[in-house]
Amino acid sequence: MLQRKIPLFIVFVMGFLMTVQFYIPHPVSQTLYKYVLDWMNGVASMAIVLAVGSLIMHHWRRLKKPEFAPYSAVALVSLFFMAILGFFFGIGEGSLFQKMFENVQIPLQATMFSLLAFYMASAAYRAFRARNLEATLLLLSAFILMIGIIPLGYYIHPKISDFALWILNVPNLAAKRGIMIGVGLGMMATSLKIILGIERNWLGG
């Protein structure tokens, strides 16, 4: 019972205090804010330890399942190998740690993301159809943006580039702002529900 009540109580008190202190520029409120910030840094650092521990446990368990074992073995070996390199041989420019990062991680990550260009081209060719009015409008704005955003568009006619910027600055901005206001209100409502203990999914179980 206390396992649920104590976290709910802490969330209520801290949520209430932090909301109130934001609007009160009193020295006491400022001191509380600085104190909480220090705690946040400490908690975040502890969370890293917890996360690494959880990652190791997860992959350790998967080593026993033959279908996942090779991937988990690579994950664990890489984790320990890089940690040993960093702890014992330095992390600066020219170190083995940095060389591994530059010659293994960078090419791997960059390659994975670069594949998107090929799939996007193929998907646009197959799926981007002017089936109805909305799709046609989307297609037209995509055309204008694709031409307007490249330097060639500006040299075909400067107005193309201006029109592409207008699309980003007016219709796109209006839609994005609407979404952001909606998300903001949603966040406030959810936060309030969590502070008041109405929303309890974060407790797990």
Binding site: N41, S122, Y125, I150, P151, Y154, M180
Partner: protein
């Protein structure tokens, strides 16, 4: 008609091959299309260009290698610009997978200008929990980063003696392929009034136009295009000052993007022609 039908049902391997060639050929033989500078990029450039020597900016590596071709050239160009103007630079990383990119960039550009670590620039590395980090930097940098990336206490770095919080930093620039720049606005700009700029991927750029319009970002570099524009501006300045022009990665990349954009437009037109032909036949 038959040709259109064939062209509208191209095998995906042909598309992949054409896209591959469209990227590769301009990289090997650049087209040299001049860049037109857009206002959001010019605003960032002018802000840094007019900073008094000795001012400090904070450059946050909020990206990883997956977005390196777009975002890393922005980081390099802005770092070059700042160092050329004798602006002091503090580097941090909020993305753990991007820490090494910061190390690489600072090492490379500082050598180009003969800048000294601790006097002209510092690199503080990664800190978990970006919200606590962004808020903490507004109070006292030393509480968030007691030491730099290499374990040196901040007080023993001459440059950091007079830099304590956002009050001593003229501009924060977040380089990212995710939502970090929005958080810099929410925590650094809203709470502490810190000036913020962003260098983001083309996919994310559309999300940040509201911040640009309200002035919450002083400027923004969007995608390879933004990187190429800034690179062009900095390269011209370097030439003016008698420095050797560095390899124009983003400008070359923009040539590839130009070709691929044109290819995609042709593919879409072909796909739609095939679609309408098919529709006509069914009728």
């Amino acid at each position: 008609m038959k040709i259109i039908r064939v062209l509208s049902t191209l095998d995906r391997r042909i598309i992949f091959l054409l896209v591959g060639l469209g990227i590769l050929i301009p990289l090997l033989k650049p087209l040299g299309i001049p860049e037109n500078i857009t206002p959001p990029v010019r605003d960032v450039y002018q802000f840094i260009d007019t900073l008094p020597p000795g001012s400090a900016i904070l450059m946050s590596v909020d990206y990883d290698a997956s977005v390196l071709p777009e975002v890393h050239p922005m980081f390099l160009s802005i770092l070059r610009h700042a160092m050329l103007r004798n602006v002091k630079v503090i580097g941090i990383a909020l993305n753990p997978a991007g820490v090494g990119l910061g190390v690489q960039a600072f090492d490379r550009i500082s050598k180009e200008f003969g800048k000294k670590y601790g006097e002209d620039y510092v690199y503080l590395g990664f800190k978990p929990n970006f919200v606590a980090t962004m808020l903490g930097l507004g109070e006292e940098i030393r509480k968030v980063f007691p030491t730099d990336y290499y374990g040196t206490p901040l007080d023993s770095l001459p440059m950091m003696k007079e830099i304590h919080s956002y009050r001593d930093i003229a501009l924060v620039i977040s380089f990212s392929g995710a939502g970090y720049p929005g958080s810099w606005v929410a925590y650094a700009y809203s709470r502490y009034g810190q000036k913020v700029a962003a260098g983001v991927t083309a996919v994310m750029a559309a999300d940040y136009y509201p911040f640009l319009q309200t002035g919450q970002f002083i400027g923004m570099l969007g995608g390879m295009k933004g990187a190429a524009e800034y690179e062009d501006l900095v390269n011209k300045l370097l030439q003016e000052k008698g420095y050797k022009k560095p390899m124009p990665f983003a400008i070359k990349g923009m040539d590839s993007i130009t070709v691929v954009h044109l290819l995609i437009i042709i593919f879409i037109i072909l796909g739609n022609l095939g679609y309408f032909l098919q529709k006509k036949e069914v009728k």
